[in-house]
Amino acid sequence: MLDLSVIRQQGSFRVNVTLQAGAGITALFGPSGSGKTSVINMVAGLARPDQGRIVVDGRVLFDAAEGVDIPPERRRLGYVFQDGRLFPHLSVRANLTFGRDRLPPSDRKVDFDAVVEVLGIDHLLDRRPALLSGGEKQRVAIGRALLASPRILLMDEPLAALDSNRKAEVLPFIGALSRRFGIPILYVSHSMDEVLSLADTLVLMDQGRAAAIGPTEELLSRPELRPLTGRWEAGSVIRAQVESHDPRTGMTRLRFGGGILAMARNHLAVGAQVRLRIQASDIAIALDHPGRVSVRNILPAHVLSVTQRDTSLVDVMLDCGGTPLWAQISGWAQADLGLKPGMQVHAMVKALTIARGEVAETGGGEEDCRRRPALDPCGRPFALGASSVDLRRE
């Protein structure tokens, strides 16, 4: 989909990024000034790389060696800016159709009514942007970019200017969009919450370069990348599906590669794909099955690696049915258990330590849409129920 390799010198700062992004949502994550926005500005044609090549969908948009530099208006990319940038002199409707009306009718692949419905902006169409709230503005901006039938949607921290309530209002739409309209999204963010709930692929940006690229769960579960993933408690990110809610016990069961995880009941739809975090310090390890115990999640696993972090702390990487789990135990416990790679153990996770705020519904790309046809019977976005769920971390 997107294949880029660019170098750009900005004063004393050098952006040098090579990355490929496929379907679904790719997040560029990093601190302010790590070059995230520069990268998408170069993709959009708003900034010119000094060297390199940018290809989207097989079409060369920029190639310094060949002298190709397609102007932004002919790149057919959607750009959602941090500050919305709605045209103040046009109504919401005219803003929405601004890009679409410049396309030949045969290229208009995104239906106006569908976008208006997904974004819930039906009642705003005849207003002026000045009268909209921040969240409404951002939804209109997303709709406007989408209606231009872009090959890829670029989003530059579209939620950064919003307070957390407005964020929760817009966030669910973004995941729904990529799935519903089949448009890949390149998403710039410095918020791990957003990345966790949206991104299929994660690009960790550091000082102008892409320090690591990979599936979100994998990168967030890798101990050596912790300096880049930020002030984020050590832990594993795993993908699961909501299996059932049990009103009698007040628990929700999630199915993942390693079996079933029980957690306090949440409001996600049965069948929904979720991504959740389990903190490394919340995982206990037993050599033998502990028998009758209050811990509800006892998962068979084998040890992948044992790393002594310092005298009192040991990182243990476990493999639980193909899903990596990161556990931290004390040096004293390790002295007692003598864990070694290859050993069969039981990973124990208290159901109540899986915080509701750390479970986020995800799209998971087209594959998931096929797996859950029942929820999408008439082409409706199926993630909209998530708007009632608080996705923020407490």
């Binding site: 102007p71 932004p72 208006e73 002919r74 750009y79 940038r85 103040p88 410049r102 396309l103 970019a145």
Partner: protein, 230 residues
């Protein structure tokens, strides 16, 4: 009832004609110059900026004399205009319009330029990413957003043109029915003993016209602002 004499009607008509053409004719050039100064960096930019602003600080008589030398029937530019297009500027109302336009030009450019500089470039970038080329972006986004500045510039220039005297009388003189605008007619009357009442009437007419222009600009710019703010 306040009825205008033939002389007053003629002077008023000429004033409106000359000022109207001065503004309408110089507006595209004014927008172009404002855009150049606000958006582009090029060698000699300060020189161009200075030239455009010169009429603001020069005595209008100097401007009028310069126009006469350049655009007069035997001036380098005037001769060409006459030979190629049969166009005579000196001592005609068209010349008066040009004199007014030159004098009022800096005011117009200044107002539009300030407004252009306050336009969020991000909006233009947004339009570009939505498939709108640079020229279309200028007409669909930039121009509507600088409309308040254009209105201000037009009204300022129109008001300045109405009051133009020095450059006009130097370049096109005082010809009844051709170049005798309100200020020139008023000046002529003040030179004649016993015409105080007639002069006073012209003063009143000038005040009314100027005031009406200001009022119209106020109403228009409020409407434009309301449109931009929703």
């Amino acid at each position: 009832m306040f009825t205008l004499t033939a002389l007053e009607q003629e002077a008023l008509y000429l004033s409106l004609l000359v000022s109207g053409w001065a503004v309408v004719g110089s507006l595209p050039l004014g927008i172009g110059c404002a855009w150049l100064l606000a958006r582009r960096d090029f060698p000699g930019k300060s020189l161009v900026d200075g030239l455009i602003h010169l009429p603001l600080v020069l005595p209008p008589v100097v401007v009028g004399y310069f126009l006469l030398v350049m655009l007069g029937r035997r001036g380098p530019v005037g001769a060409l205009l006459h030979d190629w297009f049969g166009l005579t500027l000196a001592f005609t109302w068209k010349g008066a319009a040009i004199a007014s336009a030159v004098i009022a030009f800096p005011l117009m450019v200044r107002a539009i330029r300030l407004s252009l500089e306050s336009v969020d470039r991000g909006l233009e970038q947004a339009a570009r990413t939505l498939g709108c080329g640079p020229i279309a972006t200028f007409f669909t986004i930039t121009l509507p957003l600088v409309m308040p500045g254009i209105l201000t510039g037009v009204i300022l220039a129109f008001a300045r043109s109405l009051s133009e005297f020095g450059a006009t009388i130097t370049f096109v003189s005082n010809i009844p029915g051709e170049t005798r605008t309100l200020p020139i007619a008023l000046y002529a009357l003040t030179q004649v003993p016993g015409e105080d009442a007639a002069a006073m009437r012209l003063c009143v007419i000038s005040v009314v016209v100027a005031f009406a222009a200001l009022l119209a600009s106020e109403i228009l710019s409020r409407r434009v602002q309301a449109r931009l703010k929703g």
